[in-house]
Amino acid sequence: MTTIDTQLEASAAVVDTPPGLLRRIVRQRQAKIGLVLTGIVVLVAVVGPLLLPWLTGYTSTEFAGRPFQPDGLFGTDNLGRDIFSRFLDGGLTLLVFAALATALGMILGTAAGMLAAYQGGRLDSVIMRGNDVLLALPQLVFALLAITVLGPQGWVVVLVIGITHAPRIARVTRSAASAVITEDFIRASEMYAVPRWKILVKDVLPNITGPLMVELGLRMTYSIAAIASLSFLGLGMQPPTADWGLMINENRIALTLQPWGVILPVLAIAILTVGSNLITDAVARASATVEESK
């Protein structure tokens, strides 16, 4: 019976809510610009490594000549490696690590937030107080503390950025979910003795996708910034890996002599974060209008 009901509801929904969230997002000019900007950088980061050494003649760690010389398209870096090769090779790890950290934070944060909202009582206050403690340390300081103990390794960076995202996501999830769990359809599911996890995943989660999408975009932007910052501090990716944050750190001493080693990765990170922020902003607007039209 419930399946028939949901089918009826679904067909009714198709009739009177014309544009979905996704279409509302894409319709905005801002989102289009954002998609193009991030698209370009993602394309460079993903396809770049495949083009080496065919396009530039060098791999990203091969020595191409003397340091800081204007050889090749953009010259050589502090150790005489080809800057363009390193640039093409240096984006993928940043993107993958940022995506992993964001995914980890989203999973932990959403689960904790929904559980806190649905369960209430003691579990709620334990989770939220735990959040307060994690939020008392700035993200970067928390990351630095973890790196001191565990060393500058990729998985440490992903883990610590993901964990520091979680309480922030949990707060948003909790407030969004607590508005949903008082609805009648949740109570109906409870009466049918649907298991708790199923209620959370099938009934609560689909109703809070709007705020979660905004959060996803926001956290992705922050993850990129945080991971690039750590590499820039020399505490993320370690040499000789080609990485945009690390490149900036390695080449900034010669900013006057050979600016490309710094400018290329800085531009790429700037375009990437501005693009993802534009998309996030468009998502926020789209989900706000969805809320209003309900």
Binding site: A136, L144, I147, L233, R252, L255, P259
Partner: protein, 318 residues
Amino acid sequence: MLGLILRRLSISAVILLVVSMLVFVATLLLPGDPAQALLGQQATPERLEALRAQMNLNDPFAQRYLHWLGGLFVGDFGVSTASGGSVAVLLGDRIAASLVLMAGAAAISIPVGVIVGTYSALRRGKAGDHAATGVSLVLAALPDFVIGIALVTLFSTTVFTVLPSVTMAPPGEHVWDYPSQLILPILTLVLVIMPYIIRMMRTTMIEVLDSGYVEMARLKGVPERQVIWRHALPHAIAPVAQVVAIQLAWLAGGIVVVEFLFRYPGVGQALVDAVTNRDVQVVQALAMLIAAVYVVVNLLADIVGIVTNPKLRTGGTR
């Protein structure tokens, strides 16, 4: 209202206590022996034993924690494993230098942010508003080191060469004796935190301007200037104060990257150096210091929120 503030105060104290446990546990997880690290590989067993006793390394964990915690209150942060010097002496000048940066950034970004946000709200939908919103959207997305490097390329290396890109004060002198070296780091921090203040100010101001009492004031013929200054602005301040506080708290951690970029001799640079050298005592002390600033600023923000909220003024609880 007083009860609410006291409750909030005690929560902050408990949070800081838990954070201190978290930070202290970090030492236990670290491989190796701090005494060995200080004395090097050639140390004799007797000297090692003596130093361990001096650093209380043989005491049970709980006792070491309490000793360390007690030390924090009287300014004894332990001994740096990398240099062997007292952490408190190491950090004294650096704290002052970092405070100069933070105060400078706050003193510029708060008034400018409030003014630009208000201007933007008043000229809603016009060119000036679009420019302010667009610029703050872009700035808000950029990581701090990207803004910093852009400023360095613009003002000190490539386009104009007018400002120094690194801080270099001779030993014994203070960073603020060389104001031109402070401009770029402070400007970077201002550009990082201001967009949030502008956006929040604009949103709340628009909300307030659309409210019934502002319309009422306009209808009864109150001059526009007075409507904005007397009726609208005071109501928009409370939410903005929260955002300002969040940004100031962010500064406590955000100065790390900016100080590293400009080689500014402050707390942030010290933290990065300590992490690179795995100097746990210094990392612990700085993490606690930054957490304390962070928690206190957030506490102040909540108190401002409680005090300015008319619903709580009569002593009712939420």
